[in-house]
Subunit: 150 residues, 2 copies
DNA sequence: GATAGCTAGTTGCATTTGCAACTATGTGGC
DNA sequence: GCCACATAGTTGCAAATGCAACTAGCTATC
């Protein structure tokens, strides 16, 4: 168990972070140009949409989208203000809030996907072969497992 | 040329972004716990260090670290306040500022690397095989090329 | 069934980021 | 030389983020 990384490890790291930061920036730009809200709105909308009509609790969303709870709380504030989600008390747990998707939210989700999906295709689908995409998914999956292993 | 991504493309994308966001968060946490400044300080310090005693211009740094210029301007403000870099007018171009590393900055660079490098090893070096690290570097390299192709 | 501790969410305040307008210097066409 | 235009960097203001303290509801132990 070494505590200093090899050169090729550092190279992979540097490229990974820089590439994903760049991708992120480009997608944010595309969304903004289309007059749409930032990417973390999409992440939240998607989670809430997947949860179906019962919705899900803020803490669940926070865990999924890797946002600290206080931060998510205010993000949901903004989203609720725009009418894309509703926030209501949870029966089984008095502390929790259920977040549900509205029709407006569903529409927004689809609109964002039109832009977002196209970007994914351009930025990842086009430049990488299928084999490379699978390899990337596998490697990133390992890293995610590692992270969730705390 | 499709404009909708395949399922495996979306999977790779989602995992890539989530994994790198997680890695980033963990490294930031480790730096903070060690009482060190955030990661973008390291990126800047490294760039400036690589440039040698002549230093380099803010716009060059901005391009390298993917930070908008106004943002970098204020980051350099903070770093200059802490005495880790100096900012001086550039002879050949009256608009530009040369940014140079101080001794304090060099020390900080090394201290940050102690923590940062160890994190890279733990988060990327340990969980991935050498082959996977090479594959990751190659794939991320393609994405970077694509981005720089504007 | 009281109390200590944990979890869900919110809020105030400081820091950082994003955006647009601005200054000042450099560049190219005429 | 003078003009329009591009580039380097800064600044004011609004929005978002991070941090710590807080409220309120759950859980477990005695």
């Amino acid at each position: 168990m070494k505590n200093k990384p090899e050169k090729h490890t550092v190279l992979a790291w540097a490229r990974l972070l820089k590439a994903s930061a760049g991708l992120l920036a480009e997608v944010e730009k595309a969304l903004k140009q289309a007059g749409l809200p930032p990417l973390n709105w999409y992440d939240v909308l998607l989670e809430v949409s997947r949860a179906g009509p019962t919705g899900l609790r803020q803490s669940d969303i926070a865990r999924e989208v890797l946002l600290p709870k206080h931060n998510l709380s205010r993000l949901i504030d903004r989203m609720e203000n725009q009418g894309v989600v509703t926030r209501s008390g949870c029966d089984s747990d008095g502390r929790a809030k259920q977040v549900c998707l509205t029709d407006i939210g569903e529409t927004l989700l689809r609109k964002m996907w039109q832009v977002y999906g196209a970007e994914i295709q351009i930025r990842l689908g086009e430049p990488l072969s299928d084999a490379q995409q699978h390899a990337l998914a596998e490697i990133a999956g390992i890293l995610l497992d590692q992270e969730s292993r705390h």
